[in-house]
Symmetry: C2
Subunit: 530 residues, 2 copies
């Protein structure tokens, strides 16, 4: 993957940890304008000094930091081995876990006053004080998803006092896609700016697909383990057991997944409420658990075994993304008793997870009309003790099929501004089909816009500097700089150049207004003669 034209990879060295090399995309600008450093999620893929070999995986930059903390030990009998297949990633190190009686989560370290290399990495990325990062993590307002078995990850933070992040979902379904395609989608997602990637595969080769992704992904990787658990019982919900789920958790912890969506808040008592709705249950995980509870007439096994799940996650520093299995799938169902009942349970589970030093974020809806968005944020803050909110959209209308990246970006921008820490992208194919490369690009750019709009509204200095650099380039007709500073430099260039005459017509306009009607040109002329 080449770097965007006019940008180059630069690294900033750590101060507390001198081995830290924090990446930025430096955008060089014309005409003496100062170059601009942008947050960079593309890892080694855009470093010309690194020859990328996806069969070898990315460099395990965190291995030394983890080893130095001396609180890990090899897993004696890894679960993952049993699930490897011919297409799996060429295996390497034995997976690690916490030494008996030790805690090694970023939350544990932060609470105990320790600024980790991961925290300084985050601080340098975002222009913050390392101890500020530590405090945000210690208070549970931010998480740094970084499984000790994903040493390739470039640490990043999800929290409302950090840049708003976006997640891109990839993964195959039973009807579509292969390992290679999903790996390509992952790299592609990073190119356009995904801060984390969720592998939501439900089709063939779930374990192998995930191995290739994790070993090559500089961003945190999230999953929904119930999908693989269900695959292990051939899609038969009735055959799901806690034991199979537990084994799946261990397998994925050992593999290096950084955060798990766990739908532990979908309780039996909420089902009658959810099934009365216009669109019932629209979370895949939520519906699986609902069906399981119906069949067995028992409480959700993720809820009844939640303490044990916490113990497992804490041994690898895997973060919770507490799933909103009862999110509304239509604006009609927004903010109902099923949704908010589950949210209340997620708040209780947050407190439980924190007892075990496990990092937590909370998933949010869904389809919500504009006038009901604020209540979602207010309640989440009140019920979930300030844990980061991670929302899908929300989509503000139901009739946008084919354009749901836009219906989602509208709600996402608003809830991001109100304090949501990470926005899950939605692509134009939502509700219709599995997204392809073009959809992934469109979905990511739409949600980068939403995240940046939120950051700008929150007054983030980096967002202001970026937008101002663009506006200055625009007013000065520095077209190359405008392309470079755009969220999608390739499209910006292509759009203008496709229609602009190449006959020496003045560069101080575009085809929208032509030379006589360009307001900025006239405005500039006046300024020059004043």
């Amino acid at each position: 993957m080449p770097q965007f034209e006019g940008s180059r990879k630069v690294y900033v060295q750590g101060q507390l940890f001198s081995e830290l090399r924090v990446p930025f995309r430096e955008v060089e600008l014309d005409s003496g304008a100062k170059s601009l450093r942008l947050y960079d999620v593309t890892g080694s893929f855009t470093d010309p000094q690194v020859s990328v070999d996806m069969r070898a995986g990315m460099a395990p930059i965190r291995s030394a930091w983890i080893a130095k903390r001396a609180d890990v030990q090899p897993v004696a009998a890894p679960v993952g081995r049993r699930h490897e297949s011919a297409v799996d990633f060429p295996s390497r190190n034995v997976p690690l876990r916490a030494r008996s009686g030790r805690s090694l989560t970023q939350l544990y370290y932060a609470r105990n006053g320790m600024v980790t290399a991961e925290m300084e990495f985050v601080a340098l990325r975002e222009g913050l004080d390392p101890d500020f990062v530590r405090r945000e993590v210690a208070e549970g307002r931010a998480i740094i998803p970084a499984n000790i078995n994903h040493p390739e990850v470039e640490p990043m933070a999800i929290g409302r006092n950090f840049l708003t992040k976006i997640n891109a979902n990839i993964g195959n379904s039973a009807l579509s896609s292969s390992v290679g395609e999903e790996l390509e989608k992952m790299v592609w997602a990073l190119r356009w700016g995904a801060d984390t990637v969720m592998d939501l595969s439900t089709g063939k080769n779930i374990h192998a697909t995930r191995s290739w992704i994790i070993r090559n992904c500089p961003a945190p990787v999230g999953t929904v383990p119930i999908y693989q658990a269900l695959e292990k019982v051939a899609g038969k919900v009735e055959d799901l057991t806690w034991e199979i789920y537990r084994e799946t958790l261990l397998e994925q912890c050992e593999q290096g997944v950084d955060y798990f969506t766990v739908h532990a808040g979908v309780l039996r008592e909420f089902l009658p409420m959810a099934l009365r709705r216009k669109t019932g249950i629209v979370s895949r995980g939520g519906s699986i658990l609902a069906k399981w509870m119906r069949i067995h007439d028992k409480e959700n096994f993720l809820y009844t075994n939640f303490e044990e799940i916490c113990e497992i996650l804490s041994a690898y520093d895997v973060a919770f993304s507490l799933g909103d299995g009862l999110r509304p799938g239509s604006t009609a169902d927004a903010n109902d008793e099923a949704q908010f009942g589950e949210l209340r349970v997620l708040g209780e589970l947050t407190a439980t997870a924190w007892k075990h030093d496990v990092q937590v974020m909370i998933e949010g809806p869904g389809h919500v009309p504009l006038n009901k968005i604020k209540e979602n944020m207010d309640r989440q803050l009140a019920l979930c003790h300030g844990a980061p909110f991670y929302t899908l959209g929300p989509l503000v209308v139901d009739v946008g099929a084919g354009y749901d990246h836009i219906t989602s970006a509208i709600g996402a921008a608003m809830i991001g501004w109100m304090g949501t820490a990470m926005l899950c992208y939605v692509t134009p194919k939502e509700h219709l089909a599995l997204p392809d490369r073009n959809d992934v690009r469109a979905g990511i750019v739409a949600h980068k816009i939403a995240a940046l709009a939120a950051d700008l509204a929150k007054g983030h200095p980096l967002a202001i500097a970026w937008n101002d650099a663009m506006s200055e380039a625009r007013f000065a007709f520095r077209w190359e700089d405008q392309y470079r500073l755009s969220l999608d430099p390739e499209n910006a260039r292509r759009f203008r150049e496709a229609s602009y005459p190449k006959d020496g017509t003045s560069n101080r306009c575009c085809t929208m207004c032509g030379p006589d009607f360009c307001a900025m040109k006239i405005s500039q002329d006046i300024s020059l003669t004043r």
Copy 2:
């Protein structure tokens, strides 16, 4: 232009005016679901009973209503004739104006307790009481832009207690496009849902392009007359005079333009403020007037002659769209003293226009970060006496080049919810090039989403019914109905069908999740067995 598949044109007859035939698009739904009537802006283009001949123009449905009011007379020496060209529309009736001493604006009628055919038409379109429409117009909270010389128009209202409307800009530039292309763009804009169309041509054949558009457009047509005035002096701002502008106004009033953007609030005193900005003046009209004031060292001639402009507009019932010549062109410039100084003047001019019974709406920005949008709406309401607000976007970031339909839709949805009556679309080519057909479609659909999101948040029954019909079709896997109820039925169908296997796989899923992981299917199964 064919009707969307599964929809048909229906008409509702007037009660006060039995000759009224108010069009709707009736969406037929499968499985006994009730059909849904949607607001329809496509005029005769989608009526299979009408054979459209663009050389003849649309039927002048309002002519009889206008004649019956007996307050018009033919214009003795039409200005327009002088400007006709070989490519002009084959001319027809002599233009009309108010009889001496008579007023004929919808505002005048409304203030005098008269419910016009235009008002009943609007009431039937929106499911409102005709006298409610009259009161909204009488109070200045809504306008019905309907020049007596545009009898082809299907009356519609712009006001915050009506459905949120969207405008599509078309028109050529010196560098691009022809009459035929612009006419095609107009029809295309209606197809995707534009409620009004602005012809912003600045290139060749301005008069002729406009004739063809007006004679064939069932939606109100707006213009910015200063563009044509400048063309008449060969683009030399210094040669612009009040007399040339005045003649241009008369020409366009006679032709049938329904509303004029008039930048009468760009005063000399604001120029130093505007020229200190990061992006100066970004309104074409605003920059032209600024340059004129600089060259002649005089006050804006639109301001000094404003009373006479009111007299002219009142004789044809052309509405003002008081232009925001000093709107911010970058988020850095939002809500500054230049912008709000001009808005204060627009409020004063609103009162002046109302004295003359001229209908008024107020144009708004521009580039505004999310946290500064509300202040725009609050001030507009306070300063402009409740006149409808008509905003461009606002665009919530500056770096979205190539995706500015999205940056704009985000701000538009929010300000629409707060009470903005009409949203001006922005296309993906904004800042880069003149939009083509695909851009017009993308821009319109994005802003239809914004408008519908606003209406849904405001609790409009039509918006709720439409979204609920879609959600019910979605939950019942009625795919054909989902396509029909989508804002872009063609794309929705294409996206799903391109990837869905045609081998008899169950219809109760899509390729995103496949059959085993479809939450709605599982959720439905549970409901059925409960």
